[in-house]
Symmetry: C2
Subunit: 188 residues, 2 copies
């Protein structure tokens, strides 16, 4: 496709979206430091050089992927809460919990969050993660109407999901592992 003409061009904005989606997929697998930009580029079907042109640097790319991830999570929580017929905070938190567990089916979002957190020693990434978490926590608190400590508990179990997915605890048959994963469905 490079040598002889006839390439269909698209707008930069569309490519930005495609590349961000690819970045979430690829960074979710191997994290920030272990992922070459070239891997994201090839997953998105463009050249590495173009990724640098659109995002400036690897850091810029990762931050875009991080922001996109938290936005999607916050949207999912908001939707789940608003679609819940009951106005009771507990019911709405339960609906959100189920929606979050459903996110585990696609491991990308949850692993991307975990990797973003672990790269928070980079100040710009830490800022992006703080912003993203704020978005999620506010969405959960406002839409559910639950008190602070229930929201805290919700987040704690969300972090437990990260642990389970990251270390593939669902595949560990030992009884201690079962006690940690109990009640949290996780497909193989």
């Amino acid at each position: 496709m490079p040598s002889t003409g006839a390439a269909i061009r698209s707008t930069a904005e569309a490519q930005r979206g495609r590349i961000t989606a690819a970045a979430v997929r690829v960074f979710a697998r191997t994290g920030y430091f272990a992922t070459p930009v070239a891997d994201v580029a090839s997953d998105a079907g463009v050249s590495p050089a173009y990724v640098f042109r659109l995002f400036g640097s690897k850091l810029g790319l990762f931050i875009a992927a991080t922001a996109h991830t938290y936005s999607r999570v916050a949207d999912t929580m908001t939707q789940a809460g608003e679609q819940c017929p009951s106005p009771q905070p507990d019911d709405r938190l339960d609906a959100m919990t189920m929606a979050y567990v459903a996110l585990i089916e696609d491991r990308n979002l949850i692993l991307m969050q975990a990797h973003a957190q672990s790269a928070a020693s980079v100040p710009e990434i830490r800022d992006a993660v703080q912003a993203g978490l704020g978005e999620v926590v506010r969405a959960v608190a406002v839409v559910s109407g639950a008190p602070a400590e229930a929201v805290q508990r919700f987040m704690a179990y969300g972090q437990l999901c990260h642990l389970i997915v990251q270390t593939d605890l669902g595949a560990v048959p030992a009884s201690w592992a079962k006690s940690i994963t109990a009640g949290i469905q996780h497909h193989p």
Copy 2:
């Protein structure tokens, strides 16, 4: 040659211990992929070549640091539980919670765990983390005598501590952040 046949402590074993301790410190700061072995070596005051000699590879070094970290955590939990005068599971879990919060004062152990988890895409690291978690969970369950779901909750809030320390949530003044950090003191 000692006359009593007491075990001679080889200098190499001592260096191994020093280097493992340095590895925990340094890997806790920057994680597996972003940390050059040379950084660990210079923190331990030896040459990079010697680290490779003793640990075989960067991966071997990281796994040693990971195992050491989880062992120390498990020991801390066991001690906290056994030093608690009450035999009630809830009291003992509370004691362990306080001991774990105290670990946050020294951010090394908690950040090392977080980084080990996030590098679990490497199979050998995942295995080491699973083994370490098993050690911790068994210690908590056995010494506290608490039921599985209380142990699960204990681990969930432990993961929440990781999040708070990783992203420095204690320094975020917004109210959503306060609702997440409430009850979990954290001073740098």
